[in-house]
Symmetry: C2
Subunit: 235 residues, 2 copies
Amino acid sequence: MNKIEVCFTLENFETFRNTNAAVIVVDVLRATSSICAAFVNGVNKIIPVADFSEALKYRANGYLVASEKDGIKRPEADFGNSPHNFSKENICGKDLVYCTTNGTRAIHAAAGCNGIAIGSFPNLTAVTNWAISKNCDVIIMCSGWKGRFNLEDTLFAGAICEQLLNNANYSTICDSAIASVDLWNLAKGNLSEYIKKVAQYTRLNKNGNGDCIEYCISTDTTDVVPVFNGEYLTL
Amino acid sequence: MNKIEVCFTLENFETFRNTNAAVIVVDVLRATSSICAAFVNGVNKIIPVADFSEALKYRANGYLVASEKDGIKRPEADFGNSPHNFSKENICGKDLVYCTTNGTRAIHAAAGCNGIAIGSFPNLTAVTNWAISKNCDVIIMCSGWKGRFNLEDTLFAGAICEQLLNNANYSTICDSAIASVDLWNLAKGNLSEYIKKVAQYTRLNKNGNGDCIEYCISTDTTDVVPVFNGEYLTL
């Protein structure tokens, strides 16, 4: 029996670390949703970096860079962090460096586990099937927000848990997985209404970035499953 | 307007630290429930220590010591950590050293805030009124379990939030507070059934300690509000 665990913040990941587990990294608003959007639109590879000075070094070598500070595109970057930035025209066939506060740190924190994939509502079933294909324990690593729990990642974790728990090979005794499922069951009937309660919904709208939220909570619009090979994200 | 925040693990408390806030420390199964039981039965004061070797130093000086390791009373201690250990006969008028994995560390982690009180279902309304009497921000600090989220502390946090949010002086934009309220609303209609889902329910029963759970989820059976004065817990 494979076990499912949900880690609510990347800072807590050490208490979950399990080198036998497949890790699904989640940052619904917006890093992992944006990364999926970029692969849908044909990006070649994405290098996740947590430090903007590192991103600038890549840029000096010809890479496109996506980065914001406090929700505003940095002037030195090519794009902000919204999925809407990653149109075919902008990124098809290109390499991209993606720099954010939480999501990219989460990807690096999971290094050394049995596979790391990017999860978001747009690729919910696809990323769940990726985990099932590995037939091992699963850790859903929510990025959180500056060290704190966030609701939107938790809802998505609950959606994955729901699918995994429908498979006889998976079970959980993890309180955060159980809470995620219960919260997801509360929200899923009207996710576009429930999402208005979360702090990041307010933050994004305050910065004029709320236009991406509908995309970020749209379920199963793509089959792409970006995976991290230790250096970059690829299909 | 006073804000309410919920911290799911003591290890995350630094991201919430606010010296203007009153902190309610929660370890439903079982430290804070047991501490309340001891004050109900007339304990004089309780010294919370996280390290058993420190507890033994107190014991050499005549203090009673309550401590378990992995759910079993330590042979060198006078009592385990169950509320049932703290009968009037055992502790009335005496000083007690209480040593546990999570709860006592949480109390010390909150040092320096604007008041620290012990919360549990038995003193739910009393500890909420203590917070309201301070008329300041409130942080509900769940102890968690070895660095992880736990459901029972979260449900209790939701119960406090519900009461505070019925008071016009309190509001929240904290995702963990919102999740706590939603989970509490799911559970409160049949808490004795819902609690069977939590990992600690299984752990306690496995160790033969499940007999205290009914007490630990009984709401408003006492008005005691133990507060931490920096050295010990007192009324």
